[in-house]
Amino acid sequence: MVAAALEPFLKGDTGRNTRGLLRLIILCTIAGAAVASRLFSVIRFESIIHEFDPWFNFRATKYLVQNGFYSFWDWFDDKDVLDNGDRWRLMHRELGTWHPLGRVTGGTLYPGLMVTSGIIYHILRLLSMPVDIRNICVLLAPGFSGLTAFASYLITSEMTTSPSAGLLAAAFMGITPGYISRSVAGSYDNEAIAIFLLVFTFYLWIKAVKNGSAMWGALTALFYGYMVSAWGGYVFITNLLPLHAFVLICMGRYSPRLYVSYSTWFALGTLASMQIPFVGFLPIRSSEHMSALGVFGLVQLVAFVEFVRQQVPNKQFQTLLRGLILVIFAVSMGALVLLTVSGVIAPWSGRFYSLWDTGYAKIHIPIIASVSEHQPTAWPAFFFDLNLMIWLFPAGVYMCFQQLKDEHVFVVIYAVLASYFAGVMVRLMLTLTPVVCIAAALALSSILDTYLVADNPTPKEARPNGQATGDVVKNAADYIKDSLRSTRNPVLGIYSYISKASVVGAVTTYLLLFVLHCTWVTSNAYSSPSVVLASKLPDGSQHIIDDYREAYYWLRQNTAEKAKIMSWWDYGYQIGGMADRPTLVDNNTWNNTHIATVGKAMSSREEVSYPILRQHDVDYVLIVFGGLLGYSGDDINKFLWMVRISEGIWPEEINERNYFTARGEYRVDDEATPTMRNSLMYKMSYYNYNALFPAGQAQDRVRGSKLPAEGPQLSTMEEAFTSENWIIRIYKVKDLDNVGRDHTSAVAFDKGNKKKKTAKRRGARVLRVE
């Protein structure tokens, strides 16, 4: 009865419309699920910006919204904003970051993210919906994840005729932890919109190559430009598209379609990318972009050769071609080397080298290696982030090989490259995720398409008399005789309902488990704002540890507006965003020397550090100490990176070996080396810590070691603030002593230790000449 009633909706034109509507509803539901699964952190904590970089993006967005685009473009970092009448006069009160060097912020960031949220903000205001800019920023990433799901539907639909593959890919993309890790609500980072742009650009590119259309090529270039404005990872596209074109040419698949799409994309895309101030002339000057330029030249050459081939007889053409290829190769190679050597083309950047040699950064550029997301990926991470897709992925790639049209070549190349990069750097898991979703969806959809057919198949040459079902086995045998299995195009199908039911049941279970896993990972691993920590009390209730914000608000309320805060660079953006105070270094690690200076101040003796602090006008020093709470991400654990980075600049003053005991252990207890115990960081971390414990029982719960009975003494600084759980400690740098003593003796005097009268002088008297 129901089936009969539904009949008209499932067949013919109406049926197509119904399916279209259903698809739309499904996609909307997927988008809804994608958004919903990213809201854990908002529900559990609050609508807050997460981690480190997002704080800068948030501050930049506020600036953009309040001052307009042009001010943002010319932004030379400041802290906040007074008016927007005259662009320069009253706006810049004081520099925020990189004191005292300053940062040309407008020219050193990717503005795409901020501009996007700015536009959304203004559109909403236009619609009389005054939404706080913070909420837009917090919810931008979930919102865009819905769009990413849609984009992966589009791109997967280009790969296969099966309508279910696209929907599966969309669903995978929506909830896979590999993508959620960078796009939960509050994770207001460039990746939030960049992954959508990445997938969508690829979709447009596939479309362009398929149709040979200048319009799609131009659209590709447009979205490529958007991508460039949003994320430094655009270089991935810059290299992947040329590689695709190159492989196609090598496979002998050159076609005018490729020529049109590639040339359009390259010309317009390069122009578009050069409009971003931060990128500027890089596309024609840096090595990373040379492959795109080279393939562009190659495509022109191949087109030219194709043209010549139509005009010249075959024999001469071969000779001509060979000579031409040799000459051009020699000339372009020579030019490239010459330009690189002479410095016109920038050599490969350090981050790029570390892609090829995972040990490179550790030796040469400690600052890159010090970032946890630049570490090589651990194997379990693949399963953790992608779950069942990681084993569907090879199958999907294999299926691409089977068909191997132009777009499948693209998926194969993308899969190979992204797998490699994801293995090298944790954060590049993000670029792997889309292709895994696509490939896994291809594989899974073909399984489902095969097993989910309710009707038993009928061979193509089904006889009109209807006897076919009986002798299928015999028919199959006939076919084998005819030709190779791969060419005979048999009707494949499953006849037994048991096998159908079992396979479908198994797949359904896997998918349900996948959903379960994704939800679990998202809720447990990726939804912590890291500004606010959560812990469980013995009775199971949640306890919020809010030391970061406590300390940042203390700074905001209790220090002078221009007070300079020194901290390790990890906290720079947060201090700028939450405490609203200038910092010495921050997460935009553009100046290694300046960071090394901070590292030196932290890792040297007080007498060495103090002049550095004075020179940089430092008023307060902020450190993170987890010893009381067992919070392992603290500065003592990061300390070796400070030592290494400063050793890179001052090898004769700082030596990493001195911070290890004779047996090569990194210790903080009685056996710690004198260098370690005299370092400013150690002193600041453990200053007064003894007072919390009974005498001689002080315990560091992160390092799990007992501390020396006598705590360190500080003379050039005084403790200004320590947060509730001792996670953040802030010290005030003392002024020079008023009557010209050094700080040690001043402190000794204050404590009541009388100076001994100088005993009998030794050696010649030093006379006053003045």
């Binding site: 030379f76 320069w88 009253l90 300053g102 020179q615 008023n738 009557v739 100076k755 006379l767």
Partner: protein, 469 residues
């Protein structure tokens, strides 16, 4: 012109009250009332200059230097005490705290009275050293008063100080001779830049303990010009601390005594005049610099061009941000306090008042030149081009000279890069003409090509043209 009015008003106020620039409450610590009488002329001189003297004994329990965390007195004058300690109100920590809170101290010592331990440990902190034995005094066998100390040679006859350095101001010079009976030598440490001797002994003097039975003095505490008889320490906050080596020299009898140096004539001592100079300096009547208006602005905009409108002035004065390569003018107004009023500061030709434009290290260090003088102040100015480097810079005037209060004026400004619309337009750069021409030729060429292409559509044969497609 409001600032000028207020300055004048302050100056007038100064004239009326006629006293130190940092307050008039002077605590005189004297152990016995009998002691006090010996110095009556000295007290009278001080009171005439406007000080409100409070005499108190260190033994008084109610004596306190601070009340509610603020100083109860502006200056302290310590006379030599017989007792070993100075009591709970005058511990070295409290005295140091007094200095840290901008209080000034004049300490007098005498060879007759042992120096209390509180004082000597305070002096040690300041790197001023007194002889280790209690009774040491300075003798000079060539410059002594023949009338009063023909035997012991312990009344030194000195001329008034000459400038400490060629570029230093001399507040203690003048004619006449000084008599320093039974002086205690001070030796100043070498490392502290805050110390400066006010009066030094002659090169023939040495420190010596008369109670020592030994005939010859071996390894004396200090000799010659290394002996400071009056020495000063000006703290970083410009609080002043002076050690006066001979309390006796301030007594009435030495104020108008006649002395006769070896081979010289009888003359009246200049002790009274010198005491006035030393107290005036210590209690900040002299050598106090005052910074008035500090302003900087773009050189292209000056007061004249924007009129006298105060709103307009607010706009162009002291902006927080400049651009690289701006021409900037910096003005600073200086006055100097002289006994009871402000006078324009004059910089010695050997000296220079300099402006630094600094970020981590100075990018510019320029002489500030006086451009105008008002009744009470001099305005110094300098104009320069900002360096081609963005960042947070400061205008800094760091003027620290012996006997003058420390001046360290710092004004932070941001120097930004060129904005995107501040570069010359493309057609203003002659080297860009080639490219501009290229662009337009391409544009026109393409339009022309399209036009020709469309216009030159081949005429199809009417009969089969349609089918050809």
């Amino acid at each position: 012109m409001r600032w000028l009015l207020s300055l004048t008003f302050i100056a007038l106020l100064g004239l009326v009250q006629a006293l130190s620039s940092s307050g008039s409450r002077l605590l005189v610590v004297v152990e016995e009332a009998a002691e006090k009488a010996k110095y009556s002329t000295f007290w009278k001189d001080l009171e005439e200059r406007g000080y409100k003297l409070t005499f108190d004994s260190p033994k008084n329990d109610k004596l306190s230097l601070f009340q509610h965390g603020e100083r109860s007195f502006d200056h302290i004058l310590l006379l030599p005490a017989k007792s070993k300690g100075l009591g709970p109100a005058l511990t070295p920590n409290l005295l140091l705290q007094f200095i840290n809170k901008d209080g000034n101290i004049l300490l007098t010592v005498s060879a007759d009275a042992p120096t209390p331990t509180a004082i000597s440990s305070l002096l040690l902190e300041l790197d001023i050293h007194l002889p280790p034995d209690r009774n040491s005094l300075v003798v000079d066998h060539f410059n002594y008063d023949t009338t009063s100390a023909s035997e012991k040679h312990d009344v030194l006859i000195l001329t008034r100080s000459s400038p400490l350095r060629s570029d230093a101001r001399n507040f203690f010079g003048g004619d006449g001779t000084l008599a320093f009976p039974r002086a205690v030598a001070q030796e100043l440490g070498n490392t502290s830049p805050l110390l400066a001797p006010i009066l030094r002994a002659k090169s023939t003097a040495y420190s010596y303990n008369p109670k020592d039975e030994v005939e010859t003095v071996e390894d004396p505490f200090a000799v010659g010009e290394q002996i400071a008889l009056v020495s000063s320490m000006q703290a970083r906050n410009s609080a002043r601390f002076t050690v006066f080596g001979s309390a006796e020299a301030l007594e009435d009898k030495w104020f108008d005594a006649k002395v006769k140096p070896v081979g010289g004539k009888d003359s009246k001592t200049a002790n009274r005049e010198f005491a006035k100079q030393v107290t005036a300096w210590t209690f900040k009547e002299l050598g106090v610099l005052k910074v008035g208006r500090v302003e900087h602005h773009l050189s292209s905009i000056s007061e004249g061009s924007s009129g006298n409108d105060s709103v307009a002035q607010l706009g162009y004065l002291n902006p927080t941000i400049y651009r690289v390569k701006n021409d900037v003018t910096f003005n600073i107004e200086f006055s100097e306090y002289s006994y009871d009023h402000l006078v324009p500061l004059k910089i010695d030709p050997a000296d220079a008042l300099q402006l630094e434009f600094t970020m981590l290290s100075p990018f510019h260090r320029l002489d500030l030149v006086p451009i105008s003088t008002t009744a009470n102040s001099t305005i110094f100015s300098s104009t320069f081009k900002l360096p081609d480097q963005h960042g947070i810079f400061s205008f800094r005037v760091n003027y620290k000279r012996p006997f003058l209060t420390n001046v360290d004026v710092k004004r932070e400004v941001t120097v930004r890069h060129f904005a995107h619309d501040e570069w010359p337009r493309s057609w203003e750069i002659s080297a860009g003409w080639v490219w501009i021409a290229g662009v337009w030729i391409t544009v026109i060429g393409w339009v022309a090509f399209v036009g020709i292409w469309l216009w030159s559509e081949p005429a199809y044969d009417q009969s089969k043209g349609k089918k050809m497609q």
